[in-house]
Assembly symmetry: D2
Homo-oligomer: 348 residues x 4
């Protein structure tokens, strides 16, 4: 950590800062400049220390020079993490994963029908919400455990691992029983108690970025999970909140290569939430893959205008098929593969 | 709700939209314009309907004309809500409330000392965190239940109700046992399961605005609590996240009069988190009161440079006293009172 | 336009609103709802009317139902606009354009060397700044007219049209004399006087999106240029300002397909400014092309660590060559072509 | 400046960085840490250097330790600047200034009527736009020079200095002839050519903050003006653009005390643009004064529903009078005075 001292500080003021640094068991390394003095803090970093030093009189600013996360950092683990989610599907390898299905599980028939359709088009993981985070308490909030049971059955029939959102510590046993991947939604990215809980199980966890989550906060949230002993973390960029009102969220494509540089964890792109508009889903899916994402999460519905949630951003089965063929071409261009899709090239 | 139809829609396309509206049990009222047609939807509103109509083909946009919340709305309850938090303190009346104390409860002695100091300066509610939301899993996360016990004892000794943050459904019984007001922090504003839980108890709840929480989402989060039967909700503006990096958060002073216009619930200003810089706390506290807030939440520490958290935004006892005298003057100018502070006028 | 009336409005209040609408020469179409009444305004739209109606007593909100721009709208001109920028290069066709070169023109030799290098790697338009917008008045602000002369000479020698930024009405004649495309920078997107000026000449204009420019404002800025008679407008997405501090700007990939849907104008992606970090430029360039951009603008420098500006986001000649080969693959996957690059496929 | 070196850098890599620093004529001061090495750069700061060092290989981050502005800094000029704007009105003293009037100058009669009304209520500077920045090219863009003439005449009759916006270098002579204070609008905060021009005249300049202008950028824009020799700069906080859609802009009250801490320049609060909603103007005006602003800029119109622009945020004469009495009370509480308003206290 580097402490920049205010210009008006006297030698005594600087001595006081140095003493406080030494009190924490670290060494202070003073450089007296022409305008300002700078103090380097040498010794183990501690996330609380920045606060401590910022509170000292005559401290103008405090700069961290080490990253606040360790286990998720590529410095710590240079090779890409590969997460095995079951049924022969791995996340983070050369093969892209495609998670697809309806926003909400609406009925047993509906999820079975969806599962068969997305599988046929080349998806390899089935998604569906049983517990739905809704802004309004009066909106449809999901089928709960009955929904989980249907989802698991549909996954089993089609041979796909399933992913679903966990919103409450109380539901962790049920979700672990039925799901292959636990999703932590954007609104719970900093629900630290929930992060602790999913860190204690060994299921793969997909952690979505918060609406205003900075990359560093997101990686620290992943660190919470890994710090409890669960190394199977997958990140998911799902759009951030900005000043732009033309779309529900702004998909942050920069995040994909930056996360790849900073961390060894795999990252999925969610253009359905990342745009909120059906017409933008396919181009942004292609962008995500071109930028280096390890897969996609896509909302698909046989009849979006009768969907119980997120109809405006759901692809029909037909549009999903078209998207998958386009993804296949871009995947090949960036040296990734898409199993289960007959590529346009192969079809010729 | 109003549906704007795309210019290219044919009469058949419009009929399809009308039929879908009628299927939901509502009436459609069509106005054919020169460029675009517009359809008014008449009948009870439903938060899921916007999604449904946006998913229809040839729908360009959907505009809601009623507010999505009811119980929190001033339309529903025109008079200001007054929340009785015990020990003779009410929130939302002519008297301002001042919640003050350390960020974290650090020890029994420390919270007793803090309680006496803030009481002496005119505070009437004691704050202190026993469960701390921290970005890093390696930071100090609070004393837990032992902290709650100390907080309650310090409140009892000084005759002040106490407020503390609840982060997990698992801790609700403990927090209800010791606290007079349950705080829901910014990161949990849309932790819907936790909102449901605190809606089921009858303790007053202070709901902080999320870092990127829109006013409407914040009021809907309050609606979650009220919809479960708990009418004792207090709102707290604590700064939002913007592009500006010169302060930790940007205190949104506009929110105060707008919330007062839209809702009957009381609202507190938190300039400590709203700025993150000790030098800005007092001017922004004065601004909050001038704009109509019902009180303040202020972090105070006897020795900020040794605080276990948030030292950089904590006032010393002395600075807190200075702030209280300044608040007293502004309060009088906007026809509010501050009990327990010897006003400069009275002192003359 | 649709006017939503407050619930408390009396019939007289509504009559007053209707009368004000009729005063503007438009018709009012009233729908009385159960909770609120709604008034449709029928007649020609006018950008100032929203303001007028919002100022009326008992008006809760005003919703526009037509787009505020006309000439730039795809409704008005369904086919893609193709802009001929000279030397056989067109923007907006199946062929992608690649604008490349140094941030600033540093010397005659330097721009000639850069021109040859980017041309060899497949660029077809040469970029270089002679007038530089700099946050600080003490930074290098460009070579001015001498820079323009060097740029034009380098373009002529290598057979590439050239693009450069115009910052002031006073320099328009000089820029028109030397440049083939006039760039309007992000900070001048709403410099309406400058937009009027470049609307009066017939040079192609590339209009960058402002740091916090909404899509609608950006298209209205293009409308300013077209309204003066210049149809040769090219848009450029160069990243927006958000809460994220890990990169200088956040490239908004959603904007590309949305602009394509709303407007007939071509759009270029600028991943150099859109990220501000050299390591992210190539993946984001690929993302831009995958999402449908008509070309790229890339900062290239032979020796970034000695660049006079923007070194941290400039590709070396070698990295630019690597990027071009990768772009070529993605272009083919989305059915675009890149003339002048030996594609990996063709090379095999 | 401090350079943090990547952990993988070898001693040779570090030598290369040191050599590049020395090449710029500065000294390098190396501290070898356990995880990372840090290099302090000793010698004069230069705004372009950060770019240069960020572009060096193995540089992880570059931290500036000195502020990039000088003339506007309180370090350079510790006492508050007082700007004399004529007719006995000074900005930045104990007396608050109140700039009031219509958004646009609509006619000679109208501006005279407005001037008398705002003067009677206690305003001491007259505002009115002759050149209006409008998002749409089809909106009313002001009366131009004829408007300036009317404004100056109305100011002369009522004994008030006048302020009006300059949008183009071409109009500078006309604006200087008629106005006492030149306003630079938010959209031109980084129109560097215009800043240079107003720096060359000796008229007071009021510089509004850009919609997404960071405090540092805003102060650098003021530095542009001062660097050309004009010391009479007044800042104006007029709301920033955030994710919140409930108001047109978010008034950033934190900016007021922070600007006061960093700079000696006076600062005005504009709650009309800072909220965009008439119902929020008065509370936010009070907040601005409570936070330490040196005055207010308020849009006032005799008949907002017939205003040619900004009706929805304009106060009527009556509401302006009510606001002025409330401001007077808060001003007294923060030890400021408001000449020309009969204070409630004085009235008793």
């Amino acid at each position: 950590m580097i402490i920049v001292v205010s210009p008006e500080a006297t030698p005594d003021d600087i001595d006081h800062i140095v003493a406080r640094i030494e009190q924490t068991g670290r060494q202070a390394h003073l450089s007296v400049g022409t305008e300002r003095s700078i103090i380097g803090v040498i010794g183990p970093d501690d996330p609380g220390l920045q606060d401590v030093f910022e509170a000292l009189p005559h401290v103008e600013s405090v700069h961290r020079v080490t990253k606040p996360y360790k286990l998720v950092s590529r410095d710590f683990h240079p090779l890409n993490t590969i997460v095995d989610v079951g049924n022969g599907v791995i996340v983070g390898g050369r093969d892209l994963v495609i998670m697809a299905g309806p926003c909400s599980i609406e009925s047993e028939d509906h999820i079975f029908d969806s599962a068969r359709a997305v599988k046929a088009a080349g998806a390899n993981i089935l998604r569906g919400g049983a517990y739905k985070p809704r802004s309004s308490p009066y909106a449809f909030r999901g089928l709960g455990e009955e929904g989980l049971r249907c989802l698991a059955a549909a996954g089993a029939e089609t041979g796909m691992p399933v992913i679903t959102e966990l919103m409450s510590q109380r539901d962790i046993d049920a979700v672990c029983e039925y799901a292959d991947i636990i999703q932590i939604g954007a609104r719970n990215m900093q629900n630290f108690m929930l992060l602790d809980e999913v860190g204690k199980v060994h299921k793969p966890v997909m952690l979505k970025r918060a609406l205003s989550g900075q990359i560093e906060e997101w990686l620290l949230a992943a660190e919470y999970i890994m710090a409890q002993g669960n190394p199977n973390v997958i990140l998911c960029e799902r759009g951030i909140r900005t000043f732009e009102t033309a779309y529900r969220n702004t998909f942050d494509v920069n995040a994909i290569p930056l996360v790849k540089e900073l961390s060894h964890l795999p990252i999925i792109a969610d253009p359905s939430h990342g745009t909120g508009k059906v017409g933008l889903v396919t181009p942004v899916a292609l962008a995500g893959i071109a930028a280096g994402a390890d897969g996609l999460m896509i909302e698909v519905h046989n009849d979006p205008e009768h969907a119980l949630s997120d109809g405006a951003q759901s692809l029909t089965y037909e549009k999903f098929g078209v998207m998958m063929r386009a993804v296949s071409g871009v995947a090949a261009a960036v040296e990734r593969t898409l199993t289960g899709v007959r590529t346009p090239a192969a079809a010729r």
